[in-house]
Symmetry: C2
Subunit: 399 residues, 2 copies
Amino acid sequence: MSTTGKTLVRGDQIGGYSLEDVEARLESGKGISGVCKTDLPTPSLLLDLDLFEANIETLARHAASRSIGLRPHSKTHKCPEVARRQLEAGALGISTATVSEAETMARAGISGLLITSEIADPNKFQRLVRLTRHHPDTMAVVDHPWQAEKMNEAAEAGGVRLNIMVDIDPANRRTGVEAGEPALRLARKVDRLPHLNLRGVHCYCGKSSHVHGFEERRRHSMKSLAAPLETFFRMKQEGLPVEIFSGCSTGTYNIDPEIEGITEMQAGSYVFMDLDYRLIGGRGGEFYDDFKSALTVLSTVTSRNLPGQATLDAGLKAFSTDRAFGPQPVGIEGAGFRWGGDEHGILVLDGAAADVRLGEKLEFYPPHCDPTVNLYDRIYCTRGDQVVDVWPILARGHR
Amino acid sequence: MSTTGKTLVRGDQIGGYSLEDVEARLESGKGISGVCKTDLPTPSLLLDLDLFEANIETLARHAASRSIGLRPHSKTHKCPEVARRQLEAGALGISTATVSEAETMARAGISGLLITSEIADPNKFQRLVRLTRHHPDTMAVVDHPWQAEKMNEAAEAGGVRLNIMVDIDPANRRTGVEAGEPALRLARKVDRLPHLNLRGVHCYCGKSSHVHGFEERRRHSMKSLAAPLETFFRMKQEGLPVEIFSGCSTGTYNIDPEIEGITEMQAGSYVFMDLDYRLIGGRGGEFYDDFKSALTVLSTVTSRNLPGQATLDAGLKAFSTDRAFGPQPVGIEGAGFRWGGDEHGILVLDGAAADVRLGEKLEFYPPHCDPTVNLYDRIYCTRGDQVVDVWPILARGHR
């Protein structure tokens, strides 16, 4: 991985701010100018604002140039401040994975919400109804007639009309109704139910997003989307009021908009990026770097007694652990990482170009951004070495 | 895995409480009697109080019978309510992984805190000093003379004496000073520094805890602890004021107390248990079930369109993902699990003894309890199908 101009911060440069000092400055409204990132408690989640803003700009421009809508996914960031910046850059609204994420975004004044996961119990049906009462443009997905009926009943009881997308399975085998007749039957049913508004088709192929190699990824995505798109066109031909076809990930942002029919994309990871997406390969080369690695975890070297390794205060609770690879240190060529336990990581220094010292603070690129962000309560925003803002990750946790 | 008397809850029995209803009842002080666990939003973390109380009782009795102290580890639960119950059952205090966990426990009135991970920067030194000012019995660990010097300086500046344990590496290769002369030199240094109180030796061997098979685990633990214990005895012979030797995990609770010299144990996972510990094997058989699986995750079947599988609303953000195996469904013999993404899990029903329906709620044993608990903000406590209490997981997140 190429470095991004981040400099290693040495232990003897650590400032004296305690957590309370940082928090007190924030709460007093004084801001945190003068707070260096090395003053922060570790492990902490850092966002390089210059890179983050470039990522938002890159996708917004691309979407505009293809005349395609953008409803970025908040499951990556769970942070209304990020959503606000996505909307300012021209997004139509925000996609959310859960009702709880949508509720949090709505409370923060975010509109144009699309909940992309199926819901299937009274608790969530009632909450969707309540959310729609206050935010009538909220949309949800269904992939089964039972859900449509239950949502229609809840909508009637709550005195609202729910906006519904038919979720079609792009052979991803996770959620969605089968393309063709089953999807058409479900769309007709939703259209007939008096308290539901049929709005369009939802079709997200997670498997396509992570296919390595641009050409292979393109073929995979085009194949996966063919039957759902054909079904969408048949719905239109029948006169069903389907306006939206929502799909498309960070991995296929420059593939899917070329396909006729897709009206909006719901990419999420592009704002932060991670090692996982970086490794899928780009249009032009081995690494996918259309979007920049803006998110890092700051950690302290807390033990340094063994040759060839240093122990860090960031472990299984500081990074996502769902991929086969761990985080990658920023700026120390040849250094590796292995897990050391819940609160410990091991920096492997055999063959590394530089040594590290006890007390030194280091940054790491996370393996997978979404579940990493989900472990933290706040994002510290930086420009260079300075902390310039702190954003609460309000939608994490399960409610 | 044997079932624990939990009954499957069918979709048509789901009650009508929304999250707000549950929360409003809690906030009004009305309690949540009458709330069934199927009323809860999913995914949710459930704790079977009968099993949990039995686990606390089992370890407390064992420790008492061996005349060994118990300072249970809060990194498992991060929940002051759990810590309180451990103290009520006779624990000397609470071990914590981080300064932040210790601060949270202290705010909740928990005393006898031992922070078991090294700290190595001004932010944490200052916070340890502040914590010790209000809770003078707080203890911390060092494994390097530099740390001892810096902590002595911080203690002098803050006008406190810090209680220090020398952390000795049981060949675990994560933290700790080498047993023998290096550890003795460090202990002498701590003892000489005017603002530090040398209290004892910390020695935790995570590798021993998870050795499969009781006899193999016993041999591993005895071998790992031999040199650290010999060093502890030499410290005593020299007249160094070392009273405490702290170590011992859930996996070695019935091994280490038999070894002369260990004064207290810091087991954590025993309160909840998980699949990981269950698989290490017990004294008497294939499964380690001295402690009962009290912790589950409640999930809803949100999509059910494909033969042989059902999609759940619990994925990478609902369960720990650091082990090679996923969660296990409770009470459906032959059913399996595979990851379906950040917010999705796939219940594999090929060969399962029962089918599941759209909207049905199911419980799962987590693969690894500590990082699973860390994903949630609250624990819903149950007796049978009734929710009887809710405990906030106050120490999660990084501060």
